[in-house]
Symmetry: C2
Subunit: 334 residues, 2 copies
DNA sequence: CTGAAAGCGCTTACAG
DNA sequence: CTGAAAGCGCTTACAG
């Protein structure tokens, strides 16, 4: 490994001078700089960032933390971040950290191990201790789609999204609505699913309809096949359902639609359905799926931009909550 | 920031002892260990990985490098990697580095800045100098879907995938085939597109058909809308096309199908089409799209596992080329 | 069994 | 304008 000392030796100066010259310090002669740079080039020298960061306390990386990175939700936000990186053209690199369930542990590591200068979390709820740790270390933290008191919260208005979806079903004449929720692998519902359930119930009430626990169906992994199973269960236990709000997302909604089709039940003729997420395929399935779209691209873009502002001291970090409103995309499934 | 010295002070020992105790060195009394660990816990101490890595020369992170991470190709491989991480349950974390075009620069940084112990590249072709640098530093490099002499190459047999797709179209009676290629933003075709073109042409020849440059259409960004445009151009310049091999992938193929539908042209009645990638939506579009599936999940899984083996010294790193065969998934678009 | 010393590769005051 | 020294937070021989 080529170090600063090798360059110093070749250039015939001290390693201090090399360090200074390479960072274009004004206190070094142009002639010395040239000599040093030539030597560095000849040896193909590149500074060890580990060492640099250790002394400077800066890594120039922004950490993006998520449970995993293999679903469309993350993809959309990442697209926004990527766009922001390209247009802003800053010094900052991004690193993606997949926590695979070990959320707080990974977060601690990033902060204490100085793997980044700040983090953006996707659907991860940090513990109060972790938030405290970040604040103590002046590490900005932006949390998308989860609660995080003391950090910057980017909330998606799931309540409202569910409300408008449900209202749309009701306004189109549906009276017996089913709700499909994803309960992940936990005992209780995640934040967004819980809020969607509340929005669903409220819309029902506001239109004089009753919510029945029996019209509620659960899936775990957000798979297409689970949607097929849900429809089977629905046919069996609630054959009179005429509208479905699939809060568990579009992929599950496709499964429901496919199974309905397989049973010769017409959508939207006999049953209407509204999905959530408006992922790409929703415009090309048959029939095109009405769905709630969240401004994920914009969220990614803005989050990255804010983070850069915090890190460059252009904006003061202060716990705030921002709410982004979803939008109902009307197609032909209702 | 809490350092090893703070812990030492609280525990009443030297910082050397703290370091040893925390790593469970056999040369430290159980009693001292307890004392140290209690102190560390009380102060909520976590080692600075930057410092640890600087001295140990190990980061315990595997770098995953891609131009960006927001397409289904990366998603599928990542799924495999994530599964591998969970089942293997190793010490290694993964970090995703988005290069956004600055491929070699990012790769150099990772190696020289010790941001990782080894890398897995997605569709990135490292320069010979970069490969040399990695080899000199004993940094294992696995390259998926691109050429990289001197590294481990994971090749997708694009030639064969294109060949079987084309042959299938011919065997189903199609005689006037069009080819749709993605030429990205470069002057020349990327490796995989070039190979697909060769497979297409060879299949044509082997069945006594001629390849015509006029039956070739290009897109740049792999967008759905480009597929719609391609179909319009096709209608205009080659109205007698009866089969399409969309080497540019399924998303573009959907655009073609939609535009055909909008023009009341029946698929597969009048025109057949085969896509590439077999992304999720292909099974649910109407008609379901016949497509070439690449074993991306498996590739991700195996790549991660090999990397761990290299890093742990269980397997010797030696430049090799592995070829994974694609598979034609038959549906109703032919 | 424990601690003082040297060192990982760098940067930043401080002398000269 | 340049270099010797101290230090970032840690680990690893080496004494004692």
């Amino acid at each position: 490994m080529i170090t600063i000392k090798d360059v110093a030796k070749l250039a015939g100066v001290s390693h201090t001078t090399v360090s200074l010259a390479l960072r274009d310090s004004p206190s070094i002669t142009d002639k010395t700089k040239e000599k040093v740079k030539a030597a560095a080039k000849q040896l193909n020298y590149h500074p060890n960032y580990l060492a640099q960061s250790l002394v400077s306390g800066k890594t120039n990386v922004i950490g993006v933390v998520s449970n995993f990175f293999s679903s469309t939700f993350e993809m959309e936000i990442l697209k926004g971040i990527e766009q922001s990186i390209v247009t802003l053209n800053t010094e900052y690199k991004i690193n993606l950290f997949a926590t695979l369930e070990k959320n707080d542990q990974v977060l601690r590591d990033i902060c204490l191990g100085r793997h980044a200068d700040g983090v953006i979390l996707f659907s991860i709820s940090p513990s109060p201790e972790t938030i405290k740790l970040y604040n103590e270390n002046n590490f900005p933290m932006i949390v998308i789609d989860e609660k995080a008191e003391g950090a910057i919260e980017i909330a998606l208005d799931n309540y409202h999204g569910a409300y408008i979806a449900t209202e749309h079903l009701i306004n189109s004449g549906r009276k017996n609505l089913a709700l499909v929720l994803g309960d992940s692998n936990r005992e209780e519902l995640g934040l967004s699913q819980k809020e969607r359930k509340e929005g669903f119930i409220q819309a029902l009430h506001d239109h004089g309809l009753q919510f029945s626990e029996r019209n509620q169906f659960f899936i775990r992994d957000y798979y297409f096949e689970e949607g097929q199973l849900v429809f089977k269960r629905m046919q069996r236990y609630c054959p009179d359902v005429d509208g479905i709000f699939c809060a568990a997302g579009d992929t599950v909604a496709y499964g429901i639609m496919m199974e309905a089709k397989a049973n010769h039940i017409n959508i939207p003729g006999e049953i209407s359905i509204v999905g959530y997420d408006d992922i790409f395929a929703s415009s090309i399935v048959d029939p095109p799926l009405t769905s709630v779209r969240q401004p994920l691209f914009k969220i990614g873009k803005n989050s990255y931009a804010s983070m850069v502002n915090f890190l460059e001291g252009k904006e003061e970090f202060r716990p705030t909550k921002f709410v982004y409103e979803p939008q109902l995309i009307l197609r032909s499934s209702v």
